[in-house]
Assembly symmetry: C3
Homo-oligomer: 270 residues x 3
């Protein structure tokens, strides 16, 4: 039998929609430090909009690739807590992911460079708190699982194999329509920058492309903010895995254009 492999210091990232005014994240951190006292606990975000699974999936996608491969990423955005949705852990070539099986890991697991090595359902009560509440599995199931895994416990001890994980349609495809595509805004960041479900390889000619949002046309792909004047709109290749973004230099594009996540951006060539 293989011995536990323990990395020092173990790293556990947390992503939740719990906000930071209550004691919920505090309780999860306490559970982790009780089980794995040397863990480095890193907050990715606790400001995911309540029950926004897609938003959490994107935040994880922005960050996971920059962590060491032994990192445990614990993500709890869990509108189905208490229902029959599964609790899972997925070991990959670039991180171990722990959370509810509701699509949170879709975007990460569909990455080109990531190999899924093992997926299990978190059913073994030996790796949960002794009392499991009906409404806070972040504290009672996911935090203990993440901490035990960070301690080097093999996934196979935590439960049986899980197949057919839930995948979200992330809308990352574009639909051709003559010389135009339709893309969607998949995330609006803290600065009001719009991130599209479109990556650089989708743009055949960066000089000739334009982006239309409602009545506003943004011409060509720029390299960076400084390529336009203050308060002007620009499209550019963003910092998240080559996604195309739209921004206002030193301003807020979402407010300027009055758009929301899910809204359509038309992409024109020629």
């Amino acid at each position: 039998m293989a011995l536990p492999i323990r990395h020092d210091p173990p790293i556990i990232t947390l992503t939740t929609d719990f906000g930071q005014q209550d004691g919920y994240v505090g309780a999860m951190q306490g559970v982790i430090l009780t089980i794995c006292p040397t863990a480095t606990i890193v907050p990715l975000s606790h400001q995911i909009s309540p029950q926004e699974v897609q938003g959490a999936a994107f935040v994880l996608y922005q960050a996971f690739n920059y962590y060491p491969p032994h990192t445990v990423h614990c993500v709890v955005v869990d509108p189905g807590v208490g229902s029959k949705r599964r609790a899972i852990a997925v070991r990959t070539s670039h991180g171990i992911f722990v959370g509810p099986d509701n699509g949170l890991f879709s975007l990460v697991l569909s990455g080109e460079n990531i190999n899924v090595l093992e997926a299990i359902t978190l059913t073994n009560p030996a790796y949960q708190l002794s009392e499991v509440s009906a409404t806070f599995h972040g504290r009672d199931i996911f935090a203990p699982a993440a901490a035990h895994i960070a301690n080097g416990v093999h996934l196979s001890h935590l439960g049986p194999p899980a197949i057919n994980l839930v995948r979200l349609e992330y809308g990352a495809t574009v639909y051709p329509r003559g010389q135009e595509f339709e893309s969607q805004i998949i995330h609006i960041d803290h600065f009001g920058n719009l991130i599209l479900n479109l990556t650089l390889p989708d743009i055949t000619d960066p000089e000739q492309v334009s982006f239309v949002i409602k009545d506003t046309v943004i011409e060509s792909l720029k390299y960076t903010f400084a390529d336009v004047e203050e308060n002007r709109l620009l499209a550019y290749v963003g910092s998240t895995q080559d996604h195309i973004e739209i921004a206002v230099r030193n301003g807020n594009a979402a407010k300027r254009l009055n758009v929301q996540t899910g809204d359509t951006v038309t992409v024109r060539f020629g």
Copy 2:
């Protein structure tokens, strides 16, 4: 004389109403790391509403029980800073608590399973910053005390015994009125869930109970969110030490019912 007992790694949690846009929490963390360089500093919350002692007491109560018993919990919500209110440290069977003596620890210390072992007033200047400001004891008195205690310094070195600690009436009692009780909302969480000053043992018959808020009646205690349809109100046993909570499944009960902390919920039996 007893030798210092030092736990590795020492854990210090922080709970404040300082928010996170200023350098106040940053300064406290620097003081801690200067005195106790290996401390794991864990934020419980820095988003307590300004000077809301009751809110901080509840957040601490939600989380403290999940930490190792040697954890130092430093809580600074301090409307009386600069007045004659005492600065205290309290050692218990489940954590050491450091902060102003204004009732912050009331809820924790009234717990059934907690034994108070020692309480002192933080008066020894040797364990404070060399200059103590009139307005920021979090940095100048509480952070140094927490760090020295995490280092294993005995409480008796930090000051003389403290008796008659301030206790808040947390409203955790219920007032019988025929077949009805009146309870209060003691906390509204990030999701808009209402937490009542009522625990499961207060409910004699969970099948027959109903909750009345203004003109809205919520029938019977449910087990979890998934027991009602989306956007429906429910009452259930919450995740915080058996307190009764009222929520909207995947919605916001506080907004739906237009209620605030302190508002009354009538509990009817039969």
Copy 3:
């Protein structure tokens, strides 16, 4: 050649305007932990207002002095990202500062007790991520630099000396006008307290001074909040390096007086 000096545990503070709902801070933390796995990463603030260089400079100034001298302070508020502004690291007698050369470190470096020992431009690609984006130097240049420096790498390896660092006019001077001065509000904190560009040595007679904001006159310098009644305005010597502040006891002075950063406060003597 000098050997690397590595302090255990290395401390890296982060100050950004990235907020906490995206994965940007998460990515920076991952980069740091990949390069320097034992780093203690401390958030000063990620809630700096977007592109507010002065605000970030002040937050850093509130906190840096309380950290051990080997601490690396990484500050990324970077409206000029992608332009020709330099990326710098500055080693001082009290901390090493990493960030864009846009004045972020002005206030710290102008301190009386701080000696600048070395300043360099971060140009060596060996200490950057292998791909540097045009829009996220926090992740690609500043986080790696901070982590390598925390690992003990000498600044001279990261790039050539930098001279003539950008300095902000912080407005920290006062302009005499008869028996009056004009000062400015340089920061408004989470509680709505107003911090002025005025320190205790500027006040010749604390008993005789008064402060005029619009039509409101605040008489004399108090010692602490408890020196006035609830909801009353007071001026006092704040906790940040002797700066004068104006507050409402257990209230919000910024809302009461309807003022903003940059607004004028007239200081009268006699």
